[in-house]
Every structure is written in structure tokens, then in C-alpha cells.
């Protein structure tokens, strides 16, 4: 009897798990490592509320997200930037606003840089921290790899009309950039608030404006962008529900240092 019950339980278990496996809606999202923490958190919360939906989330960079969703390899392409005009058929779903910080190694004690100084550093015109009010220490510029949305936003909102020199080191994800800046004396780089807030790196103020959500909301701080969850054609069904969930969940947005689009007091097109 006992054995039968166990057997029955086992069979039920199997049938439940197999029906679950077949009834699953599975959603795949990949791309921006700046948006990744939010999408990961949201996926966890969404799956907990909707057990029949399975969401797999990965990084790779904004360019990867755009490419893969354009090739229909994934359902949602996460990106810090609007897709280039050469990529067609994608629908842009803006889900949040993210601020980015210029970050430096904490031992430098540098807290503020002017936009001109940042441009000079990344263009390679300035190579020692003592030229911009820091200690006598060589500047180690760390870029993001080409294909990073964060890099595009940085070039567009902070560096333009100058150009980033290609000579610097480059790392391919938000997390890597932060750990390299943490360990390397004299290092400077840039990354999204979602990665930099609370880390042992210094988020420098740009022209005296601190890198905070409040300053992004008012538009005083220039280095920010919309986060996009791109779909191939209009989003439908669970994919649409999930995207709406991401953009409307104030608690998760705040926790990961994102800003709800409706909270913004300023707006930009083509960002």
C-alpha cells in the first residue's frame, strides 16, 4: 500500500513535471550587461508568479542583443541604444532609464572631473592624473569593446564631438570593467549605475554634477540612456506581459538603480 502510494506520487510527479515541461512558455532574452541585473531580477519575480513561464536571461552586450533578436535567435534583445537604421523589423520597447557613471580607482581620491578633462583622458591627450588634479600616477584607460551599448552612449553623451582613442584596454562586460577598475591603480572607465552603485569604485561627478538618479531625472547629469527591450515585430503574449512587468515594477527598478520612464522630467529622442 505504502509502496503503491509512493509509486503513485512518483507517477504524479512525473506527469506534472512533463506537462509543465510541455506547457511551458519559454522566453529568451540577451544583450546589454547594463540592463542584465534588472532583467534577471524581473525574470525571477515573474517566474515565481507565473510558474508556467520559463525565462532565460543572458548578457553579451547590446550589439549581441540587437543581432540575435534580428536573427530571431532570441525573443527579446536587451540594448542600451536604439538599433542602427541598417537593422530592420525590430520594435523598440523602452522599459527604463539608466544612468551611467565615469568610474575611477578609489586610491586616486579624484571625485570630480570636467567634461573637457574626461574628453582629454579618453582621447589620450592627458596621460597622468596630475594633469587633472590627481596624484602623480599614470592614467589607465579602460574602454568597453566595440558593440557595447554603454560605449556608444558614452561617446554620444560625454565624449562627442571628440573621439575615444583606440589605444586603451578594453573589456567586454560591465562586471569585468568594474573589477578591473577596482584592482588597477590609476584606472578610469565607465559603466551603468546598475553595476557601479555600492561598488568600491569612485563615481566621479561630471562638471560638478554628481552621478545620481536624481540628477538624471532632472536632466542635469548628461550621461544616461533609455533601456530597450527589442522584439522582432510587435511583442505579444507572455513576451509583452514580461516587458510590461519590467517597465512597471517600481520596486525592482529602484533596487537596481533604474529610473521609471514616467518619472523623468526630461526626455530625449534617439537615445
Amino acid at each position: 500500500m505504502k509502496r503503491n502510494a509512493a509509486l503513485a506520487a512518483l507517477l504524479v510527479g512525473i506527469s506534472v513535471s512533463t506537462t509543465a515541461a510541455f506547457a511551458d512558455t519559454s522566453i529568451t532574452a540577451a544583450g546589454s550587461t547594463a540592463l542584465l541585473p534588472l532583467v534577471k531580477d524581473a525574470a525571477g519575480a515573474y517566474q515565481a508568479a507565473n510558474p508556467s513561464v520559463k525565462i532565460s536571461v543572458s548578457g553579451g552586450g547590446s550589439g549581441t542583443g540587437i543581432n540575435q533578436v534580428a536573427a530571431k535567435a532570441i525573443d527579446i534583445g536587451d540594448s542600451d541604444i536604439v538599433p542602427p537604421p541598417t537593422v530592420t523589423g525590430l520594435v523598440d520597447n523602452k522599459v527604463a532609464v539608466i544612468g551611467f557613471a565615469v568610474i575611477v580607482n578609489p586610491d586616486l581620491k579624484v571625485k570630480n572631473l570636467t567634461r573637457k578633462q574626461i574628453q582629454d583622458i579618453f582621447a589620450g591627450n592627458v596621460t597622468n592624473w596630475n594633469q587633472v588634479g590627481g596624484p602623480d600616477q599614470k592614467i589607465v584607460v579602460i574602454n568597453r569593446t566595440r558593440g557595447s551599448g554603454t560605449r556608444v552612449v558614452f561617446e554620444k553623451t560625454v565624449i562627442a564631438p571628440e573621439k575615444v582613442t583606440e589605444g586603451g584596454l578594453s573589456e567586454d562586460a560591465t562586471g569585468t570593467v568594474i573589477s578591473v577598475v577596482k584592482q588597477t591603480p590609476g584606472a578610469i572607465s565607465y559603466a551603468a549605475f546598475s553595476g557601479t552603485h555600492g561598488q568600491p569604485v569612485v563615481e566621479v561627478a561630471i562638471d560638478g554634477v554628481a552621478a545620481t538618479e536624481a540628477n538624471v531625472i532632472t536632466g542635469k547629469y548628461p550621461f544616461w540612456s533609455y533601456e530597450h527591450m527589442l522584439t522582432n515585430g510587435p511583442a505579444t503574449g507572455e513576451v509583452k506581459k514580461f516587458i510590461d512587468f519590467v517597465s512597471s515594477n517600481t520596486e525592482l527598478l529602484n533596487k537596481n538603480s533604474f529610473i521609471k520612464i514616467s518619472d523623468m522630467k526630461t526626455s530625449e529622442t534617439n537615445r
Binding site: 552586450g61 550589439g63 543581432n67 569593446t145 566595440r146 558593440g147 578594453s170 591603480p185
Partner: protein, 294 residues
């Protein structure tokens, strides 16, 4: 009765041969497909975007926003790390090969050999990770390199990675020498060292060449381990402790995000094609070295 067995074995033989032929055919087909695909995609930089081969090979200007697909930095980067790896790892590997074949007690050689072969099985990302966590801070703290990401670091990691290949193959080539060579040399009064340097090394030279060439081939193609320690800077290295990039690291770094049909994608395919050509040249060199031996 007999004829039915004969017929049956005849049939199994026919089936077996067909299967084997199909396998061989599939390999040839796959090779041809790769070659064709890469040569079509890899030449679009020249035939679709109309850049000259000379500009691709010799221009250090790699700026795709500005339409400059020069790959010279990456070609030089690949050459430099490879040379570094083979200069450091090559003689070392051959020395260990000599040790295993000629000097080590049999028991020790029997223990060491599988241990060295085990090194081949370690995934390259593990080598890269070790390089990143051990070598990069070491170079940062003890050299002029401010970040620790450098050509030298990548070269050292590569040198370690090619060791098993070089050791195994050079040991094999020493082992395949006839004992009469050693006996003759020793009988003439040569010391063991003289025997190794004057007799065995020259006799095994073509085998050693194969060991080194296959080591080079491994070094040229290695990607992940280098990417983690070389710094991925689009610039010629400023000295041995400066960061740079190689063909493989730029391909793996940019291919996922390169838009289909863009100049970037074409340029990366051209680099992949170039790597394939380098690999083929190396294989031809191996064949040449082996032919010389026989």
C-alpha cells in the same frame, strides 16, 4: 550453405565499406564547406567593400565607424605572442622531451608522461583565468605595466599551453631514433651530453621541427586564454609589457555584436580566413618536414 555465409559476409563487408566511405566523404564535404564559406565571406572586404588587400594587411587603422578595416595591429599581435610563446616554450619543451627520453629513470618517465598529457586536457579558459588572477597582478606590481594586461603575460600563458604538445612530440621523435645511434656515439667515447647535442638533436631535427610547428599552430589559434590577459587594446604594444590584441581575440570580442553584412563583419571574416590560411601553411610545413625525414 557455404555460399550463403560467403554472401552474407560479402554483404556486411559492402555495408561496412559504404559506411566508412560515407564518413570519409562527410569529412571532405565539411572541410570543403568551411573552406568555401570562409573564402566567400572572408573576401567580401575586398570584393564588396572594395578595400585593397594591402590596406587590410598593412594598415594599423582599425576604425570601422570611419571605414578603416586595417588589421595590421592584430596580425602583428598574433605574430608577437606566437613568437614569444615559441621562444620561451619551444626550447623548454624540447629540453623536457630530451629529459624524458634520454635522462629520466624509466619509472619517472612513466609517471611524468601521463601528467604532461593531462595538461593538454585542461580547458584554455582555465589557463586564461590563472593568467588573469596570478600573472596579471604579478606583472602589474613588478613591471612598468600599469594595468598588468600585456603581451608578455599572454606569451607566458601560451608558452605553458604549448608545452605538452612540444614535449610529447619531441620525446616521441627522440624515442624513434634507433638505439644504434646512441650506442655508436657512446662507444666512440662521447659523453651523454655530447651524444644528445651532437648526435641525437641533429638526427631528430625534422621531428623536432614538427613539434615546434604544431606548437606554433596551437599558439596562433588560441583565443580565450589570451583574451583574458592581453588587454584587448587596438594598438601596437608599447614594449613587451604593453597591451595589444590578436586576430583571434578581436574576432571573439566583436563577432557576436557585428551587424550582418556590415564592414565590421566582413573584416572579421577576412581575419578568420587569414587564420585559416596561416593554419594551412603550417600544416604544409609539417608535411614538408616529415617528408624530409623519410
Amino acid at each position: 550453405m557455404i555460399s550463403s555465409i560467403a554472401r552474407r559476409s560479402h554483404r556486411t563487408e559492402r555495408i561496412a565499406l559504404t559506411v566508412i566511405r560515407m564518413c570519409a566523404g562527410f569529412v571532405i564535404l565539411a572541410m570543403a564547406a568551411i573552406l568555401l564559406y570562409l573564402s566567400v565571406e572572408g573576401t567580401k572586404t575586398f570584393f564588396v567593400d572594395h578595400f585593397s588587400l594591402l590596406q587590410f594587411l598593412f594598415s594599423p587603422d582599425y576604425d570601422l565607424d570611419d571605414n578603416h578595416p586595417g588589421a595590421a595591429i592584430f596580425i602583428v599581435g598574433t605574430l608577437l605572442v606566437t613568437v614569444f610563446a615559441i621562444v620561451v616554450g619551444g626550447p623548454f619543451g624540447i629540453a623536457v622531451g630530451v629529459f624524458l627520453s634520454e635522462i629520466a629513470p624509466k619509472r619517472m618517465a612513466q609517471l611524468l608522461k601521463p601528467a604532461i598529457e593531462l595538461l593538454v586536457g585542461i580547458p584554455s579558459v582555465v589557463y586564461g583565468w590563472l593568467g588573469l588572477t596570478l600573472l596579471v597582478p604579478l606583472i602589474r606590481d613588478h613591471t612598468s605595466s600599469p594595468s598588468g594586461f600585456s603581451l608578455a603575460g599572454a606569451g607566458i600563458v601560451l608558452a605553458i599551453m604549448i608545452l605538452p604538445t612540444v614535449i610529447s612530440l619531441s620525446e616521441d621523435s627522440f624515442n624513434s631514433l634507433p638505439p644504434s645511434l646512441r650506442e655508436g656515439s657512446l662507444a666512440l667515447g662521447a659523453t651523454r651530453f655530447q651524444t644528445i647535442v651532437r648526435v641525437l638533436l641533429p638526427s631528430a631535427s625534422s621531428g623536432l621541427a614538427v613539434a615546434l610547428i604544431l606548437g606554433i599552430a596551437r599558439a596562433v589559434g588560441e583565443t580565450l586564454a589570451i583574451q583574458l590577459v592581453i588587454g584587448n587594446a587596438t594598438a601596437f604594444p608599447k614594449g613587451i609589457f604593453g597591451p595589444t590584441a590578436t586576430l583571434t581575440t578581436v574576432i571573439v570580442g566583436e563577432m557576436p555584436s557585428a551587424t550582418q553584412g556590415s564592414l565590421q563583419e566582413h573584416a572579421l571574416f577576412s581575419m578568420a580566413f587569414l587564420l585559416l590560411i596561416i593554419a594551412m601553411v603550417l600544416i604544409l610545413l609539417v608535411r614538408f618536414a616529415l617528408r624530409k625525414r623519410t
